[in-house]
Symmetry: C2
Subunit: 324 residues, 2 copies
């Protein structure tokens, strides 16, 4: 029996009201790998990013300039970033947790940075060791300095829907913190469903709240986790509300190391299958992307959790290490 990929599937059928093009913000190399217990060699990370670029991804979050003590996996940022110098047309944002991280990124010539905030007090305390207000105060000079250097600044906002300590998070509260991040000078937000509990009505309500407060939909990205299988349905509703920036992780790598239940970033392949099916341009070649995730799964020694990667690579579930 021929696999469906051989039959020109998915068939592209547009759904009225959706954007013509979506920019995928690929987070596998940073958000994905940072949860891997075994440290991945710097050269493998560099090859991963080159393969992602070869598959057509144009925004690839590369690493984090966090203190090595907190995320040993990304302690090689100074060695990795220069290996990406031959990708001048690819946006390579890097996470900068504080002023020291920004200086490290600037020293290497990074042109895009991201700060990582929280919508809830509990997660701000757990992840940043300060209050929401305190973390915004810490970001203020970082964002100002980055802007003064002409950098593009993304503001991650985590726990936008539910929080493991606080339960449901009010949309008004999320919108307040989001506005503050934008007021600091962030060019773009990424609304994170860090523990994966969001459902489509909640997503619509938050986006309506934000745009109702004057936030441009072009400044909003969405970052869904597939912990409860909801990420693609949530993405669809975000597209129906005009969002055109979607975060995803090749092969479904990663989650959040500080939130136990936060398994499963949305897999880029599952997203591309849907967008290809909707006739929405992403510039991504699904076959090359899937091959990249199979290759990395071989390096990591376990299969990808992406359903699309598994469906297109039936042999992979048995022997990931045999994949090249």
């Amino acid at each position: 029996m021929t696999g469906p990929s051989a039959g020109g599937l998915p068939m592209a059928v547009a759904l009225p009201g959706l954007p013509a093009r979506v920019r995928i913000h690929e987070v596998g190399a940073r958000d994905g790998l940072q949860n891997e217990k075994s440290v991945v060699p710097t050269e493998v990370k560099a090859e991963f990013i080159h393969r992602l670029a070869g598959a057509g991804l144009t925004t690839i979050e590369a690493t984090s300039f966090v203190h090595p003590k907190w995320v040993p996996q990304l302690a090689d940022a100074e060695r990795l970033f220069p290996l990406l110098g031959d990708l001048p047309d690819i946006a390579l944002p890097v996470l900068v947790p504080n002023a020291r991280g920004l200086e490290r990124a600037l020293a290497l010539g990074a042109r895009r940075v991201a700060v990582f905030g929280s919508a809830t007090e509990s997660f701000a305390r757990a992840n940043l060791n300060r209050s929401v207000a305190g973390s915004l105060a810490m970001f203020a000079p970082v964002v100002a300095r980055a802007r003064a250097e002409g950098l593009h600044v993304r503001g991650y906002l985590s726990m936008c829907f539910g929080d493991p300590w606080e339960g449901a998070v009010p949309v008004a509260r999320v919108a307040e913190v989001a506005k503050e991040l934008l007021d600091l000078g962030c060019d773009e937000l990424s609304l994170g469903d860090t523990i994966g509990v969001a459902t489509p009505g909640h997503v619509a309500a938050l986006l309506t709240e934000l745009t109702g407060r004057g936030v441009a939909v072009d400044a909003i990205g969405v970052h869904f986790h597939d912990t409860y299988g909801q990420a693609l349905a949530n993405t669809l509703v975000a597209l129906q509300h005009g969002v055109t920036t979607v975060d995803a992780s090749a092969g479904g790598l990663g989650g959040c190391p500080f939130a136990k239940s936060a398994t499963g970033n949305l897999a880029t392949e599952d997203l591309v299958w849907m967008l290809d099916g909707l006739g929405i341009d992403t510039g991504v070649d699904l076959g090359r992307l899937t091959a990249t995730s199979r290759w990395l799964a071989g390096r990591l020694g376990r299969p990808s959790p992406s359903r699309t990667v598994r469906a297109l690579s039936p042999e992979q579930a048995q022997s990931p290490s045999s994949e090249e």
Copy 2:
């Protein structure tokens, strides 16, 4: 850290335009178990169905009166069905492949039956050993006799979006066969994405084609597979088009034994998480349903593929057999 289930999540936030109530057609005991290689004891099947009813499911497909040679797992239909006699308020449809199967079902007092057709010639040949027209001719007296006996008749239609041999399936062709099944006397259709390749625009196009031809949306059920992770996004679009009957399989059990790439029915738990989050009434208690799938996973000796079951049962992935 407290799990999100303890925090009253998902938060219920309605999305405008969706139905207030959805009827879940639970297929785990038939469509799910029929793919299990090891024969499940009849008493375990009966307990599974009782537990599903206890979790609030009201339509539970119980078994199939197919020839035992084709599906040995369901060869105990005559022994199983009488064990369900204490569930008078639960709809317990059974699959009847032909006139002989219908007579067996009638002899046991079944009140709901289903026939299983194909939208494509290739799958009709592979699964039914005849053409689409030939299969409809075979179903005609079966449906007529069932109707004469006052039974409710469901018509499954498989390969409604893609076919492993034929690729994309034209919506006009699917609509033609669907209309013929209804004209035979079927009360309800179940549109199957047997190989899981559908995407939301394609789903919308097929539903628009059907209702444009006069098919009442109340007569349409949807049956999505999660092979490429698309099932919930497709379900959401179906709800946006007025569909109120959704097929799902507890714990994500099963697929189609005759279609190699057809892994992964939509998990009922993932569906209920979304519907709970949308404030749509299903009558299902997610906690009891998840406990049922954990219990069955223990009996089958492997973890559930449902993301929601895994997220709500973190210990289950390590030791499914310890779950009761």
